[in-house]
C-alpha cells in the first residue's frame, strides 16, 4: 500500500501555491493535513500528478476574532483550534464538536481548511460551518472570493471549489452573549464517521428561544442546516416537536439516520437549554 508516483511541490508563499494550482489545475491536489489525502494516496484511490503541499505556508495558521467573526487560517491544526481559548469563546460549538473529529493524533495534523475543502458529508467541522452559516475564503492566482457554506457543499466529497482555488480561511460567525450550544453524535466508536451528528446553538432568555441554529450531519449528501426546525424552535415549539420537524427536513437516506436526526435534535435542544 504505497502511493503511486507524483511530483511534490512545497511552495513557501501563498502566491507560489496559487501559481502552482493555476498551472496544474485538475492534475494537482492540495496537501494540507493529509489525514484523508495521504491515506487515499497510499490506497492509490487518489492519483494526482502533482501534490501541492501547503504546510510551509505558516501565514495560513492561526485564528482571530474580528467583527463578530472567528477567522481561522486554513492551515490551523484542528487540535490547535480545540485548545485556543479565544476561538472556543467565540464559537463554543468548536470545543464541543472537535473532540469527535478523528483522534488526537489526527487532529494534531489535520487542518480546518483541509477538512472543509474535503467536504465529507459526515464531517463535524463542515456541519458547524453549515449550521452557523459560515463561509470560506477561496483564493486563486488573480482573485479571491468568499463562498458561503450553503454554496460550498455540493455533495459528499464535492464542493464548489475550483481546482485552481485554495481555501485560505474559514469563517465561523461568532456567537454573542446569551447563546447556548450543544453538539451530539452517534457513531460506531469514538472518533468514527457519525451515523448522525447534530449541532445546536440557541439564544434563550425569559424562558423562550429568540434565535436558533440547528444542523444535522451524515444524514444527507452534505451537512444540512435545519431551517424549519430553527423556526419552530423560535416559535416556541417543544424540543420533541422540533425534533419531529427536523426529521421531516432530513432526506430519508435510511430510516435509522432519519430517526436519529429527530432524536438528536430533540436532545441537543434539551441539552442546550439545560
Amino acid at each position: 500500500m504505497k502511493p503511486a508516483p507524483f511530483i511534490l511541490e512545497r511552495p513557501e508563499t501563498i502566491d507560489e501555491a496559487l501559481a502552482l494550482l493555476d498551472r496544474h489545475g485538475d492534475d494537482a491536489k492540495v496537501l494540507a493535513g493529509g489525514q484523508s489525502l495521504v491515506a487515499l494516496l497510499n490506497l492509490r484511490m487518489a492519483r494526482p500528478e502533482v501534490v501541492v503541499d501547503i504546510n510551509r505556508l505558516g501565514d495560513l495558521a492561526g485564528s482571530l476574532v474580528e467583527e463578530g467573526v472567528l477567522r481561522v487560517g486554513a492551515l490551523t491544526r484542528q487540535r490547535r483550534l480545540e485548545r485556543s481559548p479565544g476561538a472556543l469563546a467565540a464559537c463554543p460549538l468548536l470545543g464541543q464538536a472537535l473532540p469527535y473529529v478523528g483522534h488526537v493524533a489526527t487532529r494534531n495534523r489535520g487542518t480546518v481548511g483541509g477538512t472543509i475543502a474535503h467536504g465529507d458529508a459526515s464531517s463535524e467541522l463542515c456541519l458547524l460551518l453549515a449550521t452557523l452559516g459560515g463561509s470560506v475564503i477561496a483564493e486563486r492566482a488573480q482573485s479571491e472570493r468568499e463562498i458561503t457554506a450553503d454554496d460550498l457543499f455540493v455533495s459528499h466529497l464535492q464542493t464548489s471549489l475550483e481546482p485552481q482555488e485554495l481555501v485560505t480561511e474559514v469563517r465561523f460567525p461568532a456567537l454573542g452573549t446569551g447563546w447556548r450550544t450543544s453538539f451530539l453524535e452517534v457513531s460506531p466508536r469514538h472518533g468514527d464517521y457519525a451515523f448522525c451528528a447534530v449541532a445546536c446553538a440557541l439564544r434563550a432568555a425569559d424562558g423562550r428561544v429568540h434565535e436558533a441554529r440547528l444542523g444535522a450531519g451524515a444524514v444527507a449528501d452534505r451537512p444540512l442546516r435545519l431551517r424549519a426546525a430553527e423556526r419552530a424552535l423560535v416559535a416556541g415549539e417543544s424540543p420533541r416537536a422540533v425534533g419531529e420537524i427536523a426529521r421531516g427536513e432530513v432526506p430519508a437516506r435510511d430510516d435509522y439516520r432519519h430517526e436519529l436526526a429527530g432524536v438528536l435534535v430533540e436532545r441537543a435542544i434539551t441539552a442546550a437549554l439545560a
Partner: protein
C-alpha cells in the same frame, strides 16, 4: 510438595514483570518486517482477483516486466508448475487450490500473480500493469444456500428419548458472523529457494500449528526436513490468524525458485482483510429439551460453517475443535449433532482467537437464556441446576471431553458476587419505569485448552478413521542447557506473539534449578532446523500453560536431577537429599555453588563424568485418539468461565453501552497472574468487539465491504467497559504444574454474555451479532 507450596516458595505463581518488555518498550524488538537476512532480496506485490468467482482467461505481464525495478513476475502457471495443490482434510469434496489461483479465482483478493521488484513501491507500480482477463462465474455469497462439502451426524446417549420426555423444547437459530482478529502486524514472509539442495529457508511470523509446516512442505513437493522455517523473536499479535501465513510462505518460496533470488512479502492491511484468514460464519439451529423444573435433558445442534472458497487446513477444524465439549458447562448426556461445511466465494477461514468457541457458545448460551425466560427462571438459577457439579469431576461429557477439574457452581457464585448481580437485577425495574433499558447477561462456558491432534479426525467416519493411522496427543519439545558459567538457556517452539512465554519459562526453570529467573534465557524463535519442535508445536488452543510449560518444567527437572547427581559426591549426600536453591546445591548444612558444579562438569568432563548439562525432552499430554463411537477427549484441559455483562440500551438510538463486566475464571493453577490477567482482558476485548462491532461483510457479488480499518472496527479504549476479574484455581490433575490454558475463554463467552444482556434489556429472543446500534434499534422496533 503440592503445587500451592511451591507457589508460596517459588517464582511460579508470582506476578513477575515480563522479561520481554524492555526490548519492546524501546522499539528494539525484531519483527518480520525488520529482518533482512539475505542480500538482494526482492520485494513482492501480489496482483489479486477483483472478482469473487471468475475463470482466468489470460494474464498479460509484458508491461509489468518492462517496468522500472522489476525482477520478475510469477504467474499461476508458474505456481502450478512449481508446486502442488495443498492437501485438504476433506480430500476432493471441495475445490483444490494452489498458493495462487491457477485457472479459477474463487474469492476477492485471491492471488493471481506476483510481481517482484527491487522495492515495494516499484513492485506495486508494476502490479498495476499486469492485465488479467476474467470470465465472471456465479458467486456463492450466502452460507445457507452455498454448496455443502461435508455433512456428518453424531448421536450420543438417547436424544430421541430425552426430547420425548421434555416439558419444554426451546428452538432457536443463530448466526455467528465472519470476523477476524486483525493483529496490528500483518503477515510477513522472506523465502529463499536453494536450488542445489532443493530446499527452502523461510522466515515468517508463523504461529503454528506446525502441522501446517508439513502442509506447506507437501505443497512445495519437498520433505519437511527441506523446509527450514524460522520465526523472528517478536510477532505483532496473531490470535490464530498467522497460522495461515503458510500459504504465502509457499507462494514466496515458489517465487524465489522461479526467479532465483530470495523474495520478501510484507502483507498490507487491505490484503490482510481480504485474503489472510477469517473466522467462519456459522449458522446454528439449536433444540434444547427441558424438564418443567429446568433440567436440560437433551440437545440437538445443527451446525453449518462457511469456510470460504477452500477447505484450507486446518479447516474444517472450527466445527470440531469444540465438538468434544459441545455440551458446554452443562450435565447433559443425550445429544445429537449435525456438522456441515459450506464453501462460498469468500476469504478462506481458519484459526481466530476462540476458534469454534464463539460459534458454539453464541448459540448454546443464548439458548439457555431463552430457556430461562420461557421457564420463568433467573438465568443464573437455570445455569446452577445444570452445571456439571464438582463431585462429578473428572466429568466425561457426552461427546467425549473429560473435564479435568473445577467447581463451576463456586465460580458462578463468585461472579454473581463480583458483578453485584442482585443489585443489577434490582435496578432494572425502576430504570424501566424511567424509560431506561438495563440488561444483565450471563454466560457459563467451558474453555478447552491444548487440542488433541486427533480431534479433526471426527471429520472422518469411524470406518474412514479405522482405515488410517490414529491421531492423538499434543507434544512439545524443549531443549535446556546450562553453560560453563552457569547461565541457563531454554529453547522451545511455542511461537509467542505477546503472551510472555519467555517470562513464564524463566519462572519455571528458576524454580526447578533454584536460581534467579534473570539467569534464564528463554529463546522462542522457531527454527525447524535447529530447535526442538513437534507437529503440534505453536501457539494455538491456549496450549502454552498446559503443554509447553509442562515440557519446560520436565526438562528443567531433569536438568536439576543431573545437577543433584553432580553435587552428590561433593556434598556426600544422596541426590534425593539435595536441595537446589539460591544458585547452589545444599545438603545437610553444606553446599556447593552451581557455578562451581557446572564449571567442573564442563571443564573436567572426563573427571566428573555425568550425562552432560544439555538435554532435550518431549512432553505429550495423555489424550487418546477418537473411539469408534465418535467420542474423543478433544483437549487436554478444560477451564471454566462465568461472566456477567451489564448493559444499558438507549431505546431511541439503539446505542448499547456495556456498563460493567465481571468474569471469573478457573484455569487451574496460574503461572503468572499479571500475564493471566492480560490474557483475560485481551480475550475479553476480542469478545466485546465481536459482540458489538466486528463483522466482515460481503455483498451479494462477493465483495468485502470491510477491507480496511475504516470499515472493520475493532474496539478502542473508549468502547470497553470497566472489568472486574477473578481467578479461582482448581489445579488440573492432567498437567504436572496443574495449569490449564486461558487465552481464549472470554473471546468465547463475551459475545454470548453481551447478547444475553441486550436481549434481556430489550425483552426479545431474536438478535443478530454484532449488536450494532442500528441492529439494536431495529430489534427494538420489531
Amino acid at each position: 510438595m503440592t503445587p500451592s507450596e511451591t507457589a508460596v516458595r517459588g517464582f511460579v505463581g508470582r506476578a513477575l514483570e515480563r522479561v520481554e518488555d524492555d526490548t519492546l518498550l524501546r522499539g528494539q524488538g525484531w519483527f518480520i518486517g525488520d529482518l533482512d537476512p539475505l542480500p538482494s532480496t526482492g520485494h513482492a506485490a501480489v496482483v489479486r482477483s477483483p472478482l469473487a468467482h471468475a475463470r482466468i482467461l489470460s494474464v498479460e505481464t509484458a508491461d509489468a516486466l518492462a517496468a522500472p525495478g522489476v525482477i520478475g513476475v510469477v504467474t499461476g502457471a508458474d505456481v502450478a508448475r512449481l508446486s502442488h495443490p495443498f492437501p485438504s482434510a476433506l480430500g476432493d469434496a471441495a475445490p483444490s487450490f494452489h498458493a495462487c489461483a491457477v485457472e479459477t479465482a474463487r474469492y476477492v483478493g485471491e492471488p493471481i500473480c506476483v510481481v517482484v521488484a527491487t522495492d515495494r513501491y516499484l513492485a506495486e507500480d508494476a502490479a498495476e500493469l499486469v492485465r488479467v482477463e476474467y470470465e465472471p462465474l456465479a458467486v456463492a455469497s450466502d452460507t445457507a444456500t452455498a454448496p455443502v462439502v461435508h455433512d456428518r451426524s453424531f448421536r450420543y446417549g438417547d436424544p430421541e428419548a430425552a426430547f420425548a420426555a421434555a416439558d419444554l423444547v426451546v428452538r432457536a437459530s443463530f448466526r455467528q458472523p465472519r470476523s477476524s482478529a486483525t493483529p496490528i502486524e500483518c503477515y510477513g514472509v522472506i523465502a529463499s529457494w536453494e536450488a542445489a539442495t532443493g530446499s527452502v529457508t523461510a522466515w515468517a511470523n508463523f504461529q503454528g500449528p506446525f502441522t501446517l509446516h508439513g502442509v506447506a512442505a507437501a505443497a512445495l513437493g519437498i520433505h519437511g526436513s527441506k523446509l527450514r522455517l524460522c520465526t523472528p523473536a517478536e510477532s505483532g499479535g496473531s490470535y490464530g490468524i498467522k497460522s495461515g501465513v503458510y500459504v504465502p510462505i509457499v507462494l514466496m518460496a515458489v517465487c524465489s525458485r522461479a526467479l532465483g533470488i530470495p523474495v520478501r512479502f510484507i502483507e498490507d492491511r487491505v490484503e490482510h482483510m481480504l485474503a489472510s484468514q477469517h473466522a467462519t460464519e456459522r449458522l446454528s439451529e439449536v433444540e434444547a429439551a427441558f424438564s418443567h423444573d429446568g433440567r436440560l435433558l437433551g440437545l440437538r445442534l445443527d451446525l453449518l460453517d462457511d469456510v470460504g472458497a477452500y477447505v484450507r487446513a486446518p479447516e474444517p477444524a472450527t466445527l470440531y475443535r469444540m465438538h468434544a465439549c459441545i455440551t458446554g458447562a452443562y450435565d447433559v448426556q443425550d445429544v445429537a449433532v449435525r456438522s456441515r461445511v459450506a464453501v462460498t466465494n469468500r476469504c478462506p477461514t481458519g484459526l481466530n482467537r476462540g476458534f469454534g468457541g464463539p460459534q458454539l457458545y453464541g448459540a448454546l448460551e443464548r439458548t439457555m437464556a431463552i430457556a430461562a425466560r420461557r421457564l420463568e427462571l433467573d438465568p443464573a438459577e437455570l445455569a446452577r441446576r445444570n452445571l456439571v457439579r464438582v463431585e462429578q469431576m473428572p466429568y466425561r461429557a457426552a461427546a467425549g471431553a473429560v473435564y479435568d477439574s473445577g467447581d463451576y457452581e463456586r465460580c458462578l457464585d463468585a461472579v454473581l458476587e463480583l458483578a453485584g448481580y442482585a443489585e443489577l437485577r434490582a435496578a432494572q425495574a425502576p430504570a424501566r419505569a424511567e424509560g431506561r433499558l438495563l440488561g444483565v447477561g450471563l454466560a457459563c462456558i467451558v474453555e478447552p485448552s491444548v487440542s488433541n491432534m486427533g480431534y479433526i479426525s471426527l471429520a472422518q467416519t469411524p470406518a474412514e478413521r479405522a482405515a488410517g493411522l490414529p491421531k492423538s496427543g499434543n507434544s512439545e519439545g524443549v531443549s535446556i542447557a546450562i553453560g560453563p558459567h552457569g547461565g541457563v538457556t531454554v529453547r522451545f517452539t511455542s511461537t509467542p506473539q505477546g503472551q510472555g512465554h519467555r517470562t513464564v519459562a524463566a519462572q519455571i526453570v528458576a524454580d526447578a534449578l533454584g536460581i534467579d529467573p534473570a539467569d534464564v534465557d528463554a529463546r522462542t524463535e522457531a527454527d525447524t532446523a535447529a530447535n526442538p519442535w513437534t507437529v503440534s508445536s505453536g501457539n494455538y488452543s491456549s496450549r502454552f500453560g498446559a503443554v509447553v510449560a509442562s515440557a519446560i518444567h520436565i526438562a528443567a527437572t531433569q536438568l536439576a536431577d543431573r545437577l543433584r547427581a553432580l553435587a552428590a559426591p561433593i556434598l556426600e549426600a544422596e541426590p534425593a537429599e539435595i536441595e537446589l536453591r539460591d544458585g547452589a546445591a545444599h545438603a545437610g548444612g553444606s553446599s556447593v555453588s552451581l557455578r562451581r558444579l557446572v564449571g567442573a562438569a564442563h571443564w573436567n568432563a572426563a573427571g566428573v563424568g555425568g550425562e552432560g548439562l544439555a538435554l532435550t525432552c518431549t512432553y505429550t499430554v495423555p489424550i487418546a485418539a477418537a473411539d469408534p463411537d465418535d467420542r474423543i477427549n478433544g483437549s487436554a484441559c478444560y477451564g471454566f468461565i462465568a461472566d456477567v455483562a451489564a448493559v444499558e440500551v438507549d431505546p431511541e438510538t439503539g446505542v448499547v453501552r456495556v456498563t460493567s463486566y465481571a468474569t471469573v475464571h478457573d484455569a487451574g493453577r496460574i503461572l503468572n497472574p499479571l500475564i493471566a490477567e492480560g490474557q483475560v482482558l485481551g480475550g475479553l476485548a476480542h469478545g466485546i468487539g465481536a459482540a458489538l462491532l466486528e463483522e466482515h461483510r460481503y455483498d451479494a457479488d462477493g465483495n468485502l465491504e470491510t477491507a480496511s480499518f475504516v470499515d472493520y472496527m475493532p474496539p478502542t479504549a473508549t468502547e470497553l467497559p470497566p472489568v472486574r476479574s477473578l481467578q479461582i484455581e482448581s489445579p488440573s490433575p492432567v498437567t504436572p504444574l496443574g495449569a490449564k490454558g486461558l487465552g481464549e475463554g472470554n473471546t468465547m463467552s463475551a459475545p454470548a454474555a453481551i447478547a444475553n444482556a441486550v436481549a434481556d434489556a430489550l425483552g426479545v429472543d431474536q438478535l443478530e451479532l454484532p449488536l450494532t446500534h442500528e441492529r439494536v434499534w431495529r430489534a427494538l422496533r420489531r
